[in-house]
């Protein structure tokens, strides 16, 4: 994630892409609803949400394959809803890559330029350039069915980039790759995006992927925009229980807002007041597992919030262990403990009585 983008968390005054009140209905099904979003020039932007929430539909509307049922889509300030896909300065990398099986690798990559009636020499030069860009310089003459999944993905990327689009759309570009290759490809994509400066809009249901690659993320829930912000903002300051729960692990404690604290059945915990929150509102305290401390005794520091419980379950994950601790009200709280010592597993066992503690600023109060 680029440093500059972390600070700049809006699309700027003149966004490159603007969805304004966009809706899309397929008969009875509403795929996208009241969707308003700006995407800035040069951003690596991610649309994140569970399967079926309308991400692909949104991308297809931007590419021109679907027409919005309502609202408008602006590119560079101009409404493009009426522009057919072949005239939009936008290129898409399809989820299944959609490479032409009857053309070679070079033939596939050159396809877009041929449509512009570019000269032979120019095509050859730019195809070679693209092949070098995706690090497949010697693959031009290969047939598509002679390529591995990872190579196909790169060819699809090269084919979509050769026309130097204003926006590159990527629909679950890494879904078909295995985990290791996916991680490598994520970093390659980021590197590529930084080098080209092209605006990338990626669709994914994988939160780790979105967090890794994107400057900003739009989290979607059933066709609506739930939150749009930088990855760290979304993780640390989610705007709703739904987003907090969808992104990463979280424990939510329901309670009533008081002055600088929240009253729950488990006690009173100090926390920062949420913006716009009033006393006696029902609120939820969101606690991330890695922000909690686990110890055998109650911590001496009176500033910390603390709560006792018994260890219910331990999940060993290699780099860390996830403890599920049963609290007085029988609910479970998740705590992550990094396995920094070589012996791995920390020294708590099932049914041990433990104390969980966290500083007030580690919790995040949600009002909805």
């Amino acid at each position: 994630m680029a440093e500059a983008a972390t600070q700049e968390q809006t699309a700027g005054d003149r966004p490159l892409v603007r969805f304004a009140g966009v809706a899309k209905r397929f008969g009875q099904i509403t795929a996208v609803e009241e969707f308003t979003l700006d995407i800035g020039e040069g951003e690596f932007f991610a649309l994140l949400g569970p399967s079926g929430c309308g991400k692909t539909t949104l991308l297809r509307m931007l590419a021109g394959f679907e027409t919005p049922s309502a609202g408008s889509i602006l590119l560079d300030g101009e409404d493009i809803v009426a522009v057919p896909p072949h005239r939009r300065p936008v290129n898409m990398m399809f989820q299944n890559y959609a490479l032409f099986p009857h053309l070679s690798v070079a033939g596939n990559i050159a396809f877009g330029l041929r449509q512009e009636r570019a000269g032979r020499a120019e095509i050859a030069e730019r195809v070679a350039e693209m092949l070098a860009l995706v690090r497949m310089p010697d693959f031009g003459r290969r047939r598509i069915d002679q390529l591995s999944g990872g190579q196909r993905q790169r060819v699809a990327l090269a084919r979509a980039l050769i026309k130097r689009p204003r926006v590159l759309l990527l629909d679950e570009p890494m879904a078909a790759l295995d985990k290791k290759l996916r991680a490598e490809t994520q970093f390659e994509l980021m590197e590529l995006q930084r080098r080209l400066g092209t605006t990338f809009v990626i669709v994914t249901h994988d939160q780790d992927e979105a967090m890794t690659v994107a400057d900003r993320i739009a989290v979607m829930d059933r066709g609506r925009l739930a939150q749009v912000a930088a990855p760290s903002e979304i993780y640390e300051r989610p705007n709703s229980r739904w987003v907090a729960d969808f992104i990463g692990e979280v424990t939510l404690l329901e309670g009533m807002l008081a002055e600088g604290a929240i009253e729950t059945v488990l006690g009173r915990f100090r926390a920062a007041m949420p913006a716009g929150g009033r006393k006696r509102d029902t609120v939820w305290l969101a606690l991330r597992p890695e922000k909690l401390h686990i110890a055998a005794q109650r911590p001496a520091d009176g500033n910390l919030n603390a709560i006792p419980g018994t260890v219910f379950e331990i999940g060993y994950r290699g780099d860390m262990s996830i403890y599920k601790v049963r609290l007085a009200d029988r609910s479970l709280m998740k705590v992550a403990l990094a396995n920094t010592s070589a012996r791995g597993r920390a020294s708590f066992g099932i049914d041990d009585v433990v104390w969980l503690s966290w500083p007030p600023e580690a919790g995040w109060v949600l009002t909805r």
Binding site: R87, F94, L99, P101, L103, Q115, A160
Partner: protein
Amino acid sequence: MIQNQRAKRSWSARLVLLIPYLWLALFFLAPFLIVLKISLSQTAIAQPPYVPVLEWAAGWAGLKAFFAALSADNYAMLGSDWLYPVSYLKSLEVAALSTAILLAVGYPLAYGIARSPRRLQPVLVMLVILPFWTSFLIRVYAWINILQRDGLLNDVLLRLHIVDTPVAWLSSDTAIYIGMVYSYLPFMVLPLYAALEKMDESLLEAAADLGCPRGRAFWLVTLPLSLPGVAAGMLLCFIPIAGEFVIPDLLGGSQTVMIGQTLWMEFFANKDWPVASAIAVALLGLLLVPMLFYERMQQRSLEGGR
């Protein structure tokens, strides 16, 4: 034990592989050799109506005498009488033109079926195959009914005042082409549909995304990807049409003689089995040309485009 089982399995697997070869040997190669042999014989008033006949009882000498009596005279005859080349040429002409019309009619039909809603496609395919449920002969007789002087077609044309005297459709090349196109349409449509149906819709979207308008995408994506279906459909039509007998005999006029009719005449009217056999063998040789062409095309598509 395991070894034994594996050996057994591979033996039975080999047997399965043998079945097509056995089938071809029994029902294609053996009859072909018999026909080939007859084509090298001479006609005779005898039972069977040709000589030589292989006498197993005469042993080695009989075998030698048999082979000595074989000759290629009948093939030379095919070249000397203009009747034969003319009917071959007519057959190729009818087959080529019919196949071209079939492609022109069948491609849009197959394309339309492949692009219609998924639910409807099996029904439409069924409708294409439906004529097969009645006998081929009956359908050709039905065409006689439609095309004759006071038939349905003239009836309609007269009533619509498109013509004012009945047209002689029957006993003409037009009638042959109508019959051919009607009868062989399913053989063209089905392979084309199979090729078009399995084509990924997202390829057309990818083409559009890369700046290719829909019309051009047909020529750049759809058509090249359907070429195997085009080749299969053309082959499935061209070959049987070239040897067709019933349609030209029932719908065509006496001025048009296709090779199938010539063959029939030699066999049944002239009782000249050797010449009839030579005609058949020569036809087979002729039809090998498009077959080899198709084979080469498939080879090329396996090796990959540009």
